[in-house]
Symmetry: C2
Subunit: 713 residues, 2 copies
């Protein structure tokens, strides 16, 4: 029934078309494949070179292609039937894949293995998560919080190679998510036995959402309130065994259940855990930072901050993932739009018009294509930022002279990754849905891929730091940078616009002709001016509250909406700068096309936030009209080569896993084939008796309902 009503309407509107069509004698029409092929000849740039540039060089393209081939040919990574698997089948399929991946995790250097995982996330986000729980969270916690001797102990027990143990990460509780300080689970030191007693005191203290706990994990890193001699020392982490790795029976005092059905990523067996006086050796507490001695002395770390570099990793991964998933969504929607034809504004047309040739469809898709490019380059830069930080952290000891600078980098990278994780995952989730809707009714089929992509991706917005909370943290950082800048302290590159604050605040666009707006520098200045203003607004709100006598926490709370706005606008400008810098560094033969894409991203983002640019008078209303008109112009320009731009992402049909996004454009036959393969004709009728008893019932038994009795009920 999809589209039926508008269809009926269309009947009226297009009455003339029909008669026109009737006259034409079966004219030669382009096949879907021809419709696609004609888009590829339009390329004015070497597509393969753009792929190399995106991947960071031919070498890495080859590695990615090697990964894609290995995965496509790996039977445990078969994807053709994935959209029809039940929750339990998905989970079993996920476990199958462990065997493949552990082979690589121990053999490949971390940067290469990271690339492999990034590829896997585009194919099977559920598995990516399940393995990430073991590798990124469980093993990452050991690496980050265990002493070196504790670390080698757990590695020797198989924590990396997954022989004899597989881990999960028991932090969140039913009643406690973002605020870890509020966790209720306790770890009480029992001096007599030299053990910790792990205990769940209430329902809300039940460990919740624990990925891998429901069925697969044998051990967990458990976060609990450390209590020694009746004194609380806050939340620390402890290795607690959950199951016997041979029999998989639960350990004494451990109660585990299945969290059950989720919106997506059903491949991961999330569970809940209750501990009832579970005893573990004292040495199972991860003591790299806080130490508890045999005698019950507690030694607290010198510099807690240094231990939190690790948490940034997950956010960086999600910024990268946003770019990758955006590429996938745009590839499906973009290729469909090159083949799908509907209506025509010219009665003499032999064939209906391609969706992509409608101005409105270009306006729906081209900015998302530009966004995918913007997020790609942002992901690359964020990864670099993170690697630099990690190097600094590992090469610096408390007390080093350079420590102050390292902490600044930590602060900046932390705030930047927080803001970008929220901004990119939000934008990508919206982009997936927007792409899904451009498929019309077919976007609602599971087999066209974007429905599942949406459901799998959505969790990025609330886990590893709820997006709203992360955005507020980033806004908090901007407020403190603003105050430092006002106090004359030079600010780092990411917020360098604060160094020219006074110059920027009341600056308008100084161009003589509108055409001059179409430059990286003007657009960057536009963002700097607007960002400076919104950050100033947040900073002033904060200080007003301070002057009114609020404590800093309350004052930050009071200006939360201004902080949110500041962080959002800051991210727009930040991402545009990353994109523009990448374009400037691109090979000559890619400059022209990438410049168009980058300008489209900049102009579109400005249009979407027109209110701020007019509010702070950087653009006049007529300049803003010009920006709007240029968004359309650049949509048209980018549309000319949009299929080559999509091809450059170099994502195989196997990874796309959508018949509407296939490279050759043969969408209808492949879609129909998939539907028939997954739902063969001529199957026995699943609920025949029910229908028969309905249609053959004795209708006289249908008693009318007495409407007047309501008041008596």
């Amino acid at each position: 029934m999809s589209d039926s009503a508008s269809a009926r309407l269309a009947t009226v509107q297009n009455h003339m078309h029909i008669n026109a069509c009737a006259a034409v004698e079966e004219p030669k029409k382009k096949t879907p494949q021809e419709s696609m092929a004609e888009e590829r000849v339009k390329a004015t740039f070497p597509v393969r070179d753009l792929t190399y540039f995106l991947d960071g060089g031919e070498k890495f393209t080859k590695i990615r292609e090697k990964f894609m081939m290995e995965l496509e040919r790996d039977p445990t990574f078969r994807m053709y039937d994935i959209y029809d698997l039940t929750k339990d089948e998905m989970r079993e399929r996920t476990m199958e894949k462990f065997r493949t991946i552990v082979h690589y995790v121990s053999a490949e250097p971390v940067p290469i293995f990271t690339m492999r995982m990034q590829t896997i996330s585009m194919i099977d986000p559920g598995f990516w998560t399940r393995f990430g729980v073991h590798y990124g969270l469980f093993f990452g916690a050991l690496r980050g919080s265990a002493t070196s001797s504790q670390f080698s102990h757990w590695v020797s027990k198989g924590a990396l190679a997954l022989n004899g143990m597989v881990g999960c990460f028991a932090m969140t509780e039913l009643g406690h998510g973002s605020n870890v300080a509020g966790l209720e689970t306790t770890a009480t030191f029992d001096e007599a036995s030299d053990q910790f007693i792990i205990h769940t005191p209430s329902v809300t203290a039940t460990k919740w959402w624990i990925g891998g706990a429901a069925h697969s994990a044998t051990h967990c890193v458990c976060f609990a309130q450390l209590i020694v001699r009746g004194k609380r020392y806050g939340v620390k982490s402890f290795v607690v065994q959950l199951r016997d790795p041979k029999t998989y029976t639960l350990m004494p005092g451990v109660n585990i259940g299945d969290i059950g059905k989720k919106m997506g990523r059903d491949g991961i067996d999330n569970g809940w855990i209750q501990f009832t006086n579970v005893r573990i050796p004292r040495t199972n507490m991860l003591m790299k930072h806080t130490k508890v001695s045999r005698a019950g002395e507690v030694k607290e770390p010198a510099m807690a901050q240094l231990t939190y570099g690790a948490l940034i990793q997950g956010r960086v991964a999600m910024v990268v993932d946003s770019g990758n998933i955006a590429k996938k969504a745009v590839t499906i929607a973009g290729r469909y739009a090159a083949v799908r034809r509907q209506f025509s504004s010219n009665p003499h047309d032999v064939q209906e018009t391609k969706l992509i040739d409608y101005a409105i469809h270009q306006y729906r898709l081209m900015p998302l294509l530009a966004m995918a490019y913007a997020f790609h380059f942002t992901g690359v830069e964020t990864q670099k930022l993170y690697d630099t930080l990690m190097d600094k952290l590992e090469s610096t000891q408390p007390g080093d002279a350079s420590m102050g600078e390292v902490l600044d980098t930590l602060k900046e990278t932390h705030a930047t990754s927080a803001g970008l994780k929220a901004f990119c995952t939000w934008s990508t989730l919206n982009a997936i849905e927007a792409c899904r809707q451009t498929l019309g009714g077919h976007g609602y089929s599971a087999y066209t891929g974007l429905a599942t992509t949406y459901n799998d991706f959505a969790v990025h917005c609330t886990w590893e730091g709820d997006n709203t909370i992360l955005t507020l943290q980033s806004g908090r950082y901007l407020v403190s940078c603003y105050r430092e800048a006002m106090a004359g302290k030079a600010q780092p590159e990411g917020v360098s616009y604060l160094n020219d604050l006074h110059k920027l605040l009341n600056q308008g666009c100084a161009v003589k002709t509108n055409e001059e707006i179409l430059s990286f520098d003007v657009i960057q200045e536009a963002w700097n001016v607007v960002t400076a203003n919104v950050v100033k607004k947040a900073g002033e709100d904060f200080e007003t509250s301070l002057k009114a006598g609020m404590n800093p926490e309350a004052a930050y709370e009071e200006c939360s909406q201004a902080r949110l706005a500041a962080a959002k606008i800051h991210s727009y400008g930040y991402i545009f700068r990353r994109f523009a810098q990448a374009v400037k560094g691109a090979p000559a033969n890619l400059q022209t096309i990438l410049t168009k894409v980058c300008l489209l991203y900049g102009l579109y983002s400005i249009e979407q936030n027109a209110g701020f640019f007019l509010q702070y008078r950087y653009f006049t209303p007529s300049q803003m009209d010009y920006v709007r008109s240029q968004v359309n112009t650049y949509c048209r320009l980018v549309r000319e080569e949009y299929i080559p731009l999509i091809d450059a992402f170099n994502v195989t049909d196997y990874m796309i896993n959508s018949p509407l996004g296939v490279y050759d454009g043969n969408i209808y036959e492949k879609y129909f084939d998939q539907v028939k393969r997954q739902n063969p004709v001529g199957q026995p009728h699943p609920y025949l008796p029910m229908i028969q008893s309905l249609l053959t019932r004795n209708v006289e038994d249908d008693e009318p309902l007495e409407d007047d009795d309501e008041d008596d009920e």
Copy 2:
């Protein structure tokens, strides 16, 4: 793992809190139920009276409560296990419910039955759709397109009572959605046998998405190109039998398959149909409008438009549904926010702070609550508009003097319902996701309801008229109204601002003090001014293209983005007016609270579209700052009584079907109970051998991969 990273971060930030907590000796904390109860005592208005007002009177509230009780106690409408049902189980459950509903459909007057269906849509959208396909589309097509004798023939065969037949609606084809004129299926008249031959000539002509076709329907109304004596007459509708109602075997020449898994609404068995020279009696063509005689003469209708009033019904239903589903989403998110506590900006707090007491959380939720109210009143008014139109259509014959006026009403209602369907379904879909995200990690659980609500609702944006196409149609109408107004023709109430066009275009906000902005009249004027300007922009773009020599279709195409903007802004103003009018008509004891909610909706909508209000200089930047600040103020004001405002929706826990949205606030225990009931502990391990073989494998077999061989592959 949800929130784990931000959690770890929080550990740093809240270090001081922990120590503070440590000092406090187990203070008295409010239970979830107490946290909820304290919200209800804040009500300054009689909640029950507001429910009556929303329902249109106590009588209708009683009827709705009767429906809710009947459904809750009907075993076929059990919902506690719905989130775990497979596609096939969902479909079987759907068929179970037919038995209940056919009892009422034949017994209840249409307006009452419509209320029942509206209630059902909030409980089980899949069933609502499946039954709607039979009742609204199949039976509706008979009512709208069959001659009276044809109609009584099909009723006598059981088309209404579902004895001996159940129907579906075969319009959309694999390659043809919105453009029905492009359908490929043919209905060729065979004079010799006095039959039509229904035929599917190609893959893209395969009937697609046909709800009910996969397993349950015995008959369909099929849309096909009428061909008589080699001449095409465009798309007409024909009743085609698909299956033998006794054996459910397919009729000769009919090939049917299952469309399979979808994003949501799996309770409806969508299918594809191919006809291979299927013969039906000539009299199976629905001939109320176009007629084909025994001798093969084709008589075309005098006034095609009159036949399209019916299609508006589905859109009106979706406007109403948007309001209802928004209520459901806001109820879940709102009640959770009254109970869930996280962090605290005051170290001395005995307990963490309620989510709803954070300014940012109020900003996330209160505007959505206001939107739910706005959409409710808009739905009521749109339904009235539609009923009036239908009365006029039924009481008017071609040739009547009043026909011109009737056609104007048709045109207006058609455009209005098109624009509102798109606007309200888009906004509601976004609101569902926004509400889901306010649940943090728990929003990702299937049991908390909003994930499924999102997946079920999403289809509203693309079926019954793709939202983008409908918005463009509404923009097209606005352009033509603009041109009529310029030519001096008075415009109807819905677009009456066009009657004062010249007065409005350059009007600024004339208030002396900012406080005066806080009035229905000023906000309405603001919308009128901005709408007048954007409509004018679209109209001018259109005429520029005409002058440039384009044909009207191409000219409309050229201004499509301006049309889109015009339609969107028009809808904002339209909905605010509906809301404000409803408030003015509300009982005295509800005026104060409803005025706050309505002002919040108006101010928030303006803030969201600040660019236009600054662009056309209705508000100055400083007035816009005031509007922003007042959005926060009104969020705070509405927050004070937001639980009573939610209670007034009067949606039972059974209908909400989310443990986080329960009336009494006992969210954690009910959530935990549901998870345990659906996923009992102590079940046999589903994939034990797989994990064991992984953990006990011979690790020496793990061969390292040679990274240097890439280039050889």
